[in-house]
């Protein structure tokens, strides 16, 4: 309020952050090419998802949004955390509410580098070893993605259900936003989000500087940013207003020093300082001398050292990520006989029994094999939100401990739509590799398995055919049985494992027709499509 210039910067930050959050909300809630495009751009700018996509999944430079983010951080510090990271933006919302309600004053806190470093290194090592559970649990985009899918989406769905009922009275018929899903995941996210909000409500940006793996890497990159907020010691009276409004707790008034590796450039301090003694400087060259004087007082030296160590550790781990990534991808591509770039060679790539080990759950088209998938999926649940048929659902232990919270195909809730490859298009980390629709149709995620003893046709003696009716590949079809009844016949080689049959099968669990998962996706054989040429056969006479 005291300094209009900084008010503008602060408002600018709020506007950009709000726009990012709104765009995230809209692009996750609505479907269509425009929204998918927006979502793609936004997720490509998320630091770790983009890094994993490029380094581990070989996602190409188009996905390398982490590079401009890193550059931005080296130049100006952690702007990313205040305007691009959805979880950071949510923290600012909580902090705003907390400020209104509690009038709490923040104060300078220790760097927390030991805790932060330990957690960041542990989670990154997990990621390197192909066990991204801790990483995925803490990575801020993944955290936000789960919050959206498990908490925000059900609320939107409920509100839209209500709105639809009201609008109906005005002769407006809309389809409500659908929500369907695993309630266990909702509970887990609710608990973790509640903890997160409470922490933020009381301690400000505690999560960013204690738990967030992205925060840890960005801390290293922003140790000495080119531009940043600096004290003007001539004007400063050490009144402490700046430290009281700093949610990151990174302003040390006694030493008149700002720990840039924790500052997210929210511009609260610069705007509030009554004496204009904290200023944003684009080239910190001049102030550097003052800074080293501050160091001379010996106040922040140990913290800085710790921060350096931690950050170096994290960066080392991130570097290791690259090396392991290449190793891993080489390893997995040797084991995978599905190569999306290859042209289809069904004869050569037919299911070979030694590779065709049964998986525990069907994984989405494009995720290659369980090892590839579980090592790269950070459980952000973006695909779960985007899946139009709700077949993708968070799992708990369906893929083993390493697959905790990762989405799998749940054929009790949906089926994989034949004409859809949305999950592969929007996956931020490339765990579900981007594949064209035609490629997707050739993938075999599993194969059909029919159990005569459970089938309605045999148990009830009535016609059914639900499985064959919905099968898009005709791997299930009805053939004559007896007394004019028809029974399902399966052709597993041409099955895509889409689960339409399992979803449609009307018997209670276990269903009479199920998909047996492949741990490594195969290429399904395809019957040579005949050109369906409608034959003209107009009857001579009316047939009745």
């Amino acid at each position: 309020m005291n300094r209009p210039g900084y008010l503008i910067l602060k408002v600018l930050r709020i506007v950009v952050a709000a726009a990012v959050l709104v765009l995230f909300y809209v692009s996750l809630s609505l479907t269509g090419p425009v929204y998918s495009g927006i979502l793609k751009v936004l997720t490509r700018l998320q630091f770790f998802p983009s890094l994993i996509n490029v380094v581990l999944s070989g996602g190409g430079w188009f996905s390398a949004g982490f590079l401009p983010v890193a550059l931005l951080t080296v130049l100006f510090g952690r702007l990313y955390c205040s305007v691009l990271c959805p979880l950071g933006i949510i923290q600012d919302v909580v902090i705003f509410i907390s400020g209104k309600k509690r009038h709490r004053k923040y104060s300078f806190s220790s760097s927390g580098a030991r805790l932060h470093g330990t957690i960041a290194i542990a989670s990154l090592i997990g990621l390197l070893l192909g066990l991204p559970f801790l990483f995925g649990f803490l990575e801020p985009y993944a955290f936000w993605g789960r919050m959206y899918r498990d908490l925000i989406l059900p609320v939107s769905a409920g509100v839209s259900e209500g709105a639809v009922l009201i609008l109906k009275e005005f002769d407006l018929f809309l389809a409500p936003l659908p929500f369907m899903g695993e309630i266990g995941a909702v509970l887990l996210t609710a608990v973790s989000a509640l903890l997160f909000v409470l922490l933020t409500y009381v301690y400000g940006r505690w999560f960013c500087n204690r738990l967030c793996p992205t925060g840890a890497v960005l801390r290293l990159l922003s140790l000495r940013p080119l531009g940043g907020i600096e004290f003007n010691k001539e004007l400063c009276t050490k009144c402490g207003v700046c430290a009281h409004v700093c949610p990151a707790g990174c302003i040390d008034v006694t030493a008149q020093c700002i720990e840039h590796n924790r500052c997210v450039l929210c511009f609260e301090c610069t705007e509030r300082c009554p004496f204009g003694a904290v200023d944003f400087t684009l080239m910190r060259g001049a102030s550097k001398r003052r800074f080293s004087k501050g160091r001379g007082e010996g106040r922040i030296d140990p913290d800085r050292r710790k921060a350096v160590m931690v950050s170096l550790g994290s960066l080392g781990a991130a570097g290791g990520l690259g090396l392991t990534g290449f190793g891993l991808s080489a390893l997995t591509s040797c084991n995978s006989n599905y190569k999306p770039s290859d042209s289809p060679l069904p004869e050569q790539q037919k299911n070979t029994s030694d590779l065709d080990k049964a998986g525990r759950a069907v994984i989405p088209p494009g995720s290659k094999n369980v090892r590839w998938y579980t090592a790269r999926c950070i459980s952000c649940h973006t695909c779960v939100s985007a899946c139009p048929t709700h077949v993708l659902q968070p799992s708990f232990f369906a893929l083993g401990v390493s697959g905790f919270l990762q989405p799998v195909m749940d054929y009790k809730r949906g089926y994989c739509e034949w004409e859809c490859n949305r999950c592969s298009q929007i996956c931020p980390t490339g765990a579900i590799e981007s594949i064209a629709l035609e490629e997707k149709k050739r993938i075999q995620m599993g194969t059909v398995q029919f159990d005569k003893d459970r089938c309605v046709v045999f148990t009830e003696g009535t016609d059914c055919g639900a499985c064959a009716e919905v099968c898009p590949s005709q791997a299930v079809r009805m053939v004559p049985y007896k007394d004019g009844l028809t029974q399902p016949a399966t052709e597993p080689e041409i099955c895509s494992g889409c689960g339409s049959c399992e979803y449609a099968c009307p018997v209670s669990l276990p269903k009479a027709i199920v998909v047996k998962p492949h741990s490594t996706h195969q290429v399904r054989s395809e019957r040579t499509p005949q050109q369906i040429l409608p034959e003209e056969e107009v009857p001579e006479e009316f047939p009745f």
Partner: protein, 305 residues
């Protein structure tokens, strides 16, 4: 149930009951241009929209079925996310033309509903039925959102005692059923009676509770005012979804229009190349008195274009 809900439900059911009473049997008093009232029009040799123009005229025009100010529900087959050329869904131009006729007859609102098997939005777009229906002046309203479905008791039913049905089935004054005739893996053919499965919430209930009987019994709840069977391009195998390697299509250039749903199905069965007596749901519907499969007892106008 609060007062508001009660009033709503009351109005809804009264309208449905009233409409059902008034429209179940189209009043025979209605004078035809040529003095004769036909029970069925069968047209052969044209394009779907054009054949409908001719057929409906022979039956006395749309005014016989749709009165001024009435709300019309049109039930096409839009079930699959496939192009209309596959023959798995109703010809979009036919839907458009029917909507136009309803509008000309003075319908106040024309709604197009199908609870598709594939994703509702994708299916209505790919089959081009949304586009066509809206061009004609109709409105496609959600058919796959549970909030639009209400429980209804099916009078006299044995297998389908009650059913979650789309609210338009209960609210609309006129229901026009526009199936496409095609092969079906388990029921041999699918046409008018089976097309109504797209008005219920839980179609899989049918499959596990005597499919044929459920299909027939649904018509006890609400018999369509008019049935328009699209038999222009008929899927002879690989149905109902159609497939790139198992389907065969025959262009029969036919259309069957009748207020009697059982007769429409019986004529459709003959058109496809089987007999009504071989399709169990047709015989059950006939026994239930929903209509008649005995085409000889009907006055049929056969028109060659």
């Amino acid at each position: 149930m609060n007062r508001r809900e009660f009033l709503h439900a009351f109005t809804r059911y009264s309208i449905a009951a009233g409409a059902g009473f008034l429209l179940r049997r189209p009043p025979l008093l209605y004078a035809q241009q040529n003095g004769e009232t036909y029970d069925m029009a069968a047209v052969m040799g044209g394009r779907p929209a054009g054949m409908f123009d001719i057929g409906i005229k022979a039956l006395g025009g749309m005014g016989r079925f749709v009165k001024k100010g009435q709300v019309v529900l049109i039930k096409p087959n839009a079930s699959w996310n496939v192009e209309p050329e596959i023959g798995a869904t109703t010809t979009p131009a036919l839907v458009e033309r029917i909507v136009e006729h309803c509008a000309q007859a003075g319908a106040s609102k024309i709604y197009i509903v199908d609870h598709t098997i594939d994703n509702w939005k994708l299916a209505f777009d790919t089959t081009r039925i949304k586009q066509a229906g809206e061009q004609g002046g109709g409105r496609v309203i959600p058919g796959s959102s549970k909030g639009y479905f209400h429980k209804a008791v099916v009078p006299g039913a044995k297998a389908l005692k009650n059913v979650m049905v789309h609210e338009m089935v209960l609210e609309a004054d006129v229901v026009i059923n526009v199936p496409v005739l095609k092969h079906h893996g388990s029921t041999t053919i699918t046409c008018a009676l089976k097309n109504l499965m797209g008005l219920v919430w839980d179609r899989w209930y049918y499959h596990s509770n005597d499919l044929h009987r459920c299909i027939a019994e649904f018509a006890l709840l609400r018999t369509p005012t008019l049935n328009v069977v699209d038999a222009h391009t008929v899927m002879m195998s690989g149905g109902p979804r159609g497939s790139s390697h198992r389907s065969s299509l025959k262009v029969k250039k036919m259309q069957i229009i009748s207020p009697d749903i059982v007769a429409a199905d019986a004529a459709a069965a003959a058109t496809w190349g089987t007999e009504a007596d071989k399709i169990r749901y047709i015989t059950i519907a006939d026994e239930l008195g929903i209509g008649t499969k005995d085409l000889d007892s009907l006055k049929i106008k056969r028109i060659r274009v």
